[in-house]
Symmetry: C2
Subunit: 308 residues, 2 copies
């Protein structure tokens, strides 16, 4: 069974780690969000690709949900001592990834080439693809200004009110090599429990990807990143509201409804099933909170079961 997953960062990383406990990692292709890629200290940082790759390679700091386990921050501290306003943390080991990526991009490699090679060298066996080799940048409009996603999320700690969200240059982006084929040839497409607006939204904004989901014969199964009326983590609430989506499992179903077959919702959202199913999406009720490795694996098994 071939799986293709659309993935953001932390939530996706947990589910993907659960999936490779159930299926051979080589049967998994991950299409990662690059809308919050950013330049830090002159280096090209791909936060979501790295979180997913580190998770699949067993290198992710599980507590923190980003970066590498056992990380140190000596370079960051030295940058700060140089007077740099350090608001994006790059760990000392993590820096190697960004240095390697940046040097390879400067030498003319594509982001997908670099990602495939980094994934292999870090020891992840699944195939990780960026959604596009072209730069797409998620920008968040606040009452004061437009911010790059990481400025909004990390520097401003998601505190400003969100007026609008855009995927800058998405209209000119092409899917990375392998992306459309992975959606076409999959048996199951998984939409990870990531922010529908700023993690999955940028992927869907790349011309051709939405259409590929519309025509694929794969079963498409999503895990809700919303439980009750709140995001499991992160700023999904404010961003979904800014996009006119209700903050509920039905809001998630609405974002994906033209092509979504099944949405996994949390046990406590049993009473919201009719709202989801009114959108033509089957709802499966299960425990979607992944509080430990066993929970990740159990949710992955429930997902694979729901996809059958």
């Amino acid at each position: 069974m071939r799986l293709t997953a659309l993935a953001g960062g932390t939530g996706a990383a947990k589910l993907l780690r659960g999936l490779v406990a159930s299926i051979p990692p080589r049967d998994l292709t991950v299409i990662g969000n690059t809308g919050d890629d950013t330049d830090v200290w002159g280096l090209h940082v791909s936060p979501d690709l790295d979180t997913v790759t580190y998770a699949l390679a067993g290198l992710l700091d599980i507590e923190r949900g980003w970066g590498r386990a056992g990380e140190t921050f000596r370079c960051r501290d030295a940058m700060s001592a140089l007077g740099v306003d350090v608001w994006f943390n790059l760990g000392d080991q993590d820096l190697a990834t960004h240095l390697w990526r940046t040097a390879a991009l400067r030498a003319g490699c594509t982001l997908s080439d670099v990602t495939a090679e980094l994934t292999r060298r870090l020891g992840a066996q699944a195939l990780v693809l960026p959604m596009s080799d072209d730069p797409v940048r998620t920008r968040v409009q606040t009452p004061e200004s437009w911010l790059a996603f990481q400025e909004y999320f990390v520097r401003e700690r998601a505190r400003p009110k969100v007026v609008d969200v855009e995927y800058s240059a998405a209209d000119r982006a092409r899917p990375a090599p392998g992306v459309l084929g992975a959606l076409r040839d999959a048996d199951v497409v998984v939409v990870c429990p990531s922010n529908p607006v700023t993690s999955i939204g940028p992927i869907l904004a790349v011309p051709g990807i939405y259409e590929a989901l519309d025509v694929t014969r794969a079963r498409i199964v999503a895990v809700s990143p919303i439980i009750g009326g709140a995001a499991v983590s992160g700023p999904a609430g404010a961003l979904m509201r800014a996009r006119g989506l209700p903050l509920s499992p039905a809001g998630v179903a609405m974002a994906y409804s033209p092509w979504l077959d099944t949405l996994l919702v949390h046990d406590t959202d049993r009473d919201r099933v009719p709202e989801v199913e009114a959108l033509g999406v089957r709802a499966v009720v299960t425990n979607i909170l992944m509080t430990d490795r066993a929970g990740e694996a159990a949710l992955a098994r429930a997902l694979l079961e729901a996809a059958r």
Copy 2:
């Protein structure tokens, strides 16, 4: 009394540290060798400028003679785990210097602007100038091939036979802003105990610098990097031989004789004084081994005395 010093790396760092114990650091201008600048992991590294700046800022690892005290190498280890052939060690704190420099150079700053700003931010009070803002690269010819200096010195550990040395692109380089003025206006010019061929040689190869030394009214005092028939440290021996210079204090005097006033030679080289003075260079015999901070300060005082 205004001092201008021509400096390589480790040996220079010790003497300069001694000098700023005797004179106000703001009266010292250092003209640093950039002939062994190199690209490491996509970053612009200026080994000699950094060694001097770290020494003047009290940050240098004194035992090692390069890099920062209390350094860690987690990023380097992660690079190595990525399969990179890591032969040039960049420490985690040191990386901040190179990231900052590289980003500023890419933004269009000159190396002298960057160096002045880094020096200030790292807390060194002397003025450190690169010999040139233009790229000059020392290359070492071995029987097999031409090597960049760091390839010869660090990667090959100075083991290959040296056939020739060149300062690539030196003929097109201009002295960095402030360099010629610092030589013209100094009361004393100090030639640090650095390798005459690959540390001081590249500085002298920048058109205008040699001439400025010829015409300056400053007293010019050098400290020999050679004791007896051997270099105090490093590969000066093989390099001096390749340039046809005898491996002795007189060989050092020969390299600088058209404009050198005084050469400090080691106590044990008393019998070599006539050889040096036959070249028109006054020899002063003193303890030039700087084995500790007190030794550095004592040599600096002896130098200032010899310059009077």
